[in-house]
């Protein structure tokens, strides 16, 4: 628990900053630290409290680490710039919410890498926590800084700052890793890293045998399940009890990194999910529950779960938040059957405006699906629809972009037919090719071209019922640089941070000019990372990690994209030989 001394030091700072509640801690479910633990882990989230507390992964890992005899977990989030400057002025280090222990006092700093534009926040946290920024500058008394999450599967730009990365599911990697570190308590940093490098799924740059293989939980029901969650005392973004119902996705959308790096699909049973959710609702008191996955409508036992949940939700007066919906009639009917949560509208992601381009990206949504879904939405009485698209996809033409506004018009006209208000909001994001996907070789569209396409689409909106916004292309560009970046980018991240880059993912903080200046001064060709097509045989920096999906499969999928061939959903038994069929652990292939 935060002691009086820490409270006294933080107090004057908190009277001066925005949203001080995010630094207060003490939430229900945040437990007193263990008196004795061989490995003290600080789960550091490189964004604000409200974002970090919405991330289910840390709720799981907090409970998991607390359950280990040898280890304890605490949490830290990145202070907003106003708090950072107050802390620097007062000489107050960044500590955990649980004890106020500065980051340098932990054995391990665990950092999840969910988003490329959080990189500078990591440096803020290390620096404020008294941890040397570069791994090479850390001594035996400093913590090991270990990365996880999607970013750990393409870690080159961050290698300078990390001692190790975990590739895959934390539930299978962390207990082994923390046990080894507990046994080696007092050993030198070099010895610990050498031992860690031998563990499956742990990538220690320079020490691990390559490629490091991503590790997975094969049976989710039988593995560690969180039965508690930290319940915030102030509002966060995803403010609800959450349970993951499956991992992986079989749809095979070619732009989607999660759909590749979370393979194979591993489904949980309805009974296990219902039981877990019941326990979580009773522990947390949350009035809303969410079923998480990459595509919850695809989950086989969903109808069975809804039957099991109905009495639990009614008894506790809990609302089920709608999962992201596939654009088809089935999903809308399902949402309608759930009742409740009727206010607001439904959200769909057709991703591309034409059937042709949807074939290229393997988003198997037909024109008929779109019409059926929109029709059912308004027929069931919803008034609003939100549609997500991308621009800058491979092979995209003006006709594909025109399709975006055509779908929005279609939605508005279907709303009229059903006499609904029909507010259509359209969001268009620039496409960022990601590592480990079939589009990992593609050139990303540059800033000027993306802006031109955004303006063109927006300029076509004539209907007052339709509001269309496109993402500012500068952030998209920088995301693209880091998504497929090399190790020389470490220097750029460090320099941009020294020049004041903070919270680059937040529009109000982002400044591309600062980054452009850094790239120029360090003689780094950032365009070569974002906007260059890679040669088919070129070695790629992220191939130090083997996600389980083969390069041959990705290359094949790329070919199929350019010939506009669909690859069927493998849940139906049509194995597309992504690589998992030879590794075991893929339930589709076993069946």
């Amino acid at each position: 628990m935060i002691n009086e001394e820490t409270t006294r030091r933080l107090w004057p700072l908190l009277t001066r900053v925005k949203r001080p509640g995010r630094y207060a801690g003490g939430e229900w479910g945040s437990l007193p630290v263990k008196e004795h633990a061989d490995v003290r882990v600080c789960l550091a989230f490189p964004d604000t409290y409200e974002v970090g507390m919405s991330y289910l992964g840390y709720q799981i890992l907090y409970a998991l680490i607390r359950s280990l005899d040898c280890a304890d977990a605490e949490r830290a989030y990145c202070p907003w710039p106003d708090m950072e400057s107050e802390m620097r002025r007062a000489g107050v280090p960044l500590g955990s919410l649980e004890s106020g222990r500065p980051l340098r006092g932990f054995d391990v700093i665990g950092v999840t890498l969910q988003y490329e534009l959080c990189h500078t926040n990591l440096l803020t946290m290390l620096d404020l926590g008294g941890v040397p920024l570069r791994a090479e500058d850390r001594g035996d008394g400093d913590p090991l800084v270990i990365g996880g999450g999607a970013g750990a599967l393409a870690p080159a730009p961050l290698e300078r700052f990390f001692d190790a990365f975990c590739a895959g599911d934390g539930e299978v990697i962390l207990p082994g890793l923390l046990n080894v570190l507990a046994q080696m308590r007092g050993a030198s940093r070099a010895d610990k890293l050498e031992a860690a490098a031998k563990l499956p799924g742990v990538y220690v740059p320079g020490l691990s045998a390559l490629p490091a293989r991503r590790q997975i939980v094969t049976n989710l029901d039988d593995d560690f399940l969180h039965r508690t969650m930290i319940t915030p005392s102030s509002g966060i973004i995803h403010d609800r009890a959450a349970v993951q119902v499956f991992r992986g996705c079989t749809r095979g959308c070619r732009f989607c990194q999660a759909g590749i790096i979370d393979r194979p699909v591993r489904e949980r049973s309805a009974r296990s999910v219902a039981e877990q959710l019941r326990e979580l609702l009773s522990y947390t008191g949350w009035e809303e529950a969410g079923l998480l996955s990459l595509a919850t409508c695809d989950w086989t036992p969903l109808p069975e779960l809804l039957e099991l949940l109905r009495p639990i939700l009614e008894e506790a007066n809990v609302k089920l938040s709608l999962p992201s919906l596939r654009m088809d009639g089935f999903s809308v009917e399902l949402a309608a059957a759930l009742g409740g949560m009727r206010r607001g509208g439904l959200t769909f992601a057709p991703e591309a405006g034409s059937a042709r381009l949807r074939r290229v990206i393997n988003k198997g949504v037909s024109e008929e699906d779109i019409e059926t879904a929109l029709d059912a939405t308004f027929r069931h009485g919803w008034d609003r629809v939100k549609l997500y698209f991308m621009m800058g996809l491979p092979t995209e033409t003006d006709a594909d972009l025109e399709g975006i506004t055509a779908i929005a018009e279609q939605a508005a006209s279907l709303a009229r037919r059903h006499k609904r208000r029909g507010e259509i909001s359209v969001s268009v994001a620039g496409f960022v090719p990601k590592a480990h996907t079939p589009f990992q070789w593609e050139a990303q569209l540059g800033i000027a071209a993306l802006r031109e396409r955004g303006r063109m689409v927006k300029g076509r909106v004539r209907n007052r019922k339709i509001s269309l916004a496109y993402h500012e292309p500068e952030q998209t560009y920088l995301e693209g640089v880091f998504a497929r970046g090399g190790s020389e980018l470490s220097a750029a991240i460090e320099e941009a941070w020294r020049r004041g880059a903070r919270f680059d993912g937040w529009t109000e903080c982002f400044d591309l000019e600062r980054w452009a200046g850094v790239f120029r001064d360090l003689d780094i060709d950032a365009d070569a990372y974002a906007c260059r097509e890679r040669g088919a045989d070129e070695p790629l920096p992220w191939e130090v990690i083997d996600t389980g999906v083969t390069r041959a499969f990705l290359a094949r999928e790329r070919e199929r994209a350019f010939t506009e061939q669909a690859t069927p959903d493998c849940r139906g038994g049509d194995c597309s030989a992504c690589g998992w069929e030879r590794k075991g652990g893929c339930p589709q292939c076993i069946a």
Binding site: T7, T15, R16, P20, G21, A24, E27, S233, S234
Partner: protein, 202 residues
């Protein structure tokens, strides 16, 4: 439906939890304790409750009142509810209001007592004098005294004479530059007892 009046304290870093977050915080703790908070009717249902005039962020509250409407209530529910609260906000008491003629909480809270101490060493006598003069002029002063290096202050007209006003008075008098230079504690909210010369908490 049972109308339950509670008293709670906000201490330590719990003072930085915003007033607007309190309804959810109490209602989730009640749900953890197996209680069922009544929800308001309407488009976006939320727990039915009445809070006292807001305690600004960063002000300690030693005994703040609130009222909740719950589907059931037994006296032992108090301990269950108290044990499910997050740190920093403590449930001190919870009692059912059984007399339907009991006026609303807002009507019953007409006075507040504060303890105000300068963190920069400004003399409590000077603080008491400045606050006394300004509040007397606007009709808010009930009592003001310097005790043990701090000001003990009782005011009426809670909306008009809340902690923000007190800080503004001291700022205008040149005795404090900002909130962080003052430690403010609201000790009680309730009715002024003229004969005893103190605020009787609800």
């Amino acid at each position: 439906m049972h109308r339950v009046r509670i008293a709670f304290s906000k201490t330590g870093l719990g003072c930085f939890i915003s007033h607007t977050d309190l309804p959810m915080l109490f209602s989730r703790a009640a749900r953890r304790a197996g209680l069922k908070p009544e929800l308001t009717q309407g488009f976006s249902p939320h727990p039915r409750l009445v809070l006292a005039p807001p305690l600004p962020i960063g002000v300690v509250g030693l005994r703040e009142p609130a009222e909740f409407w719950l589907a059931s209530w037994e006296s032992e529910d108090f301990a269950a509810w108290r044990d499910k609260m997050p740190r920093g906000v403590t449930l001190l008491s919870a009692v059912e209001v059984t007399d339907p003629r009991t006026p609303s909480l807002t009507k019953l809270c007409s006075a507040a007592s504060y303890r105000i101490k300068s963190e920069t060493g400004t003399d409590a006598l000077a603080l008491a004098a400045a606050l006394g003069d300004a509040l007397r002029e606007s009709g808010g002063l009930l009592a003001s005294a310097a005790r043990g290096g701090a000001v003990s202050l009782a005011v009426r007209g809670l909306e008009k004479h809340g902690p923000s006003r007190l800080v503004a008075i001291l700022r205008d008098a040149g005795l404090a530059r900002e909130w962080s230079e003052l430690a403010i504690t609201r000790e009680a909210l309730g009715a002024w007892d003229e004969s005893a010369g103190e605020v009787v908490p609800l």
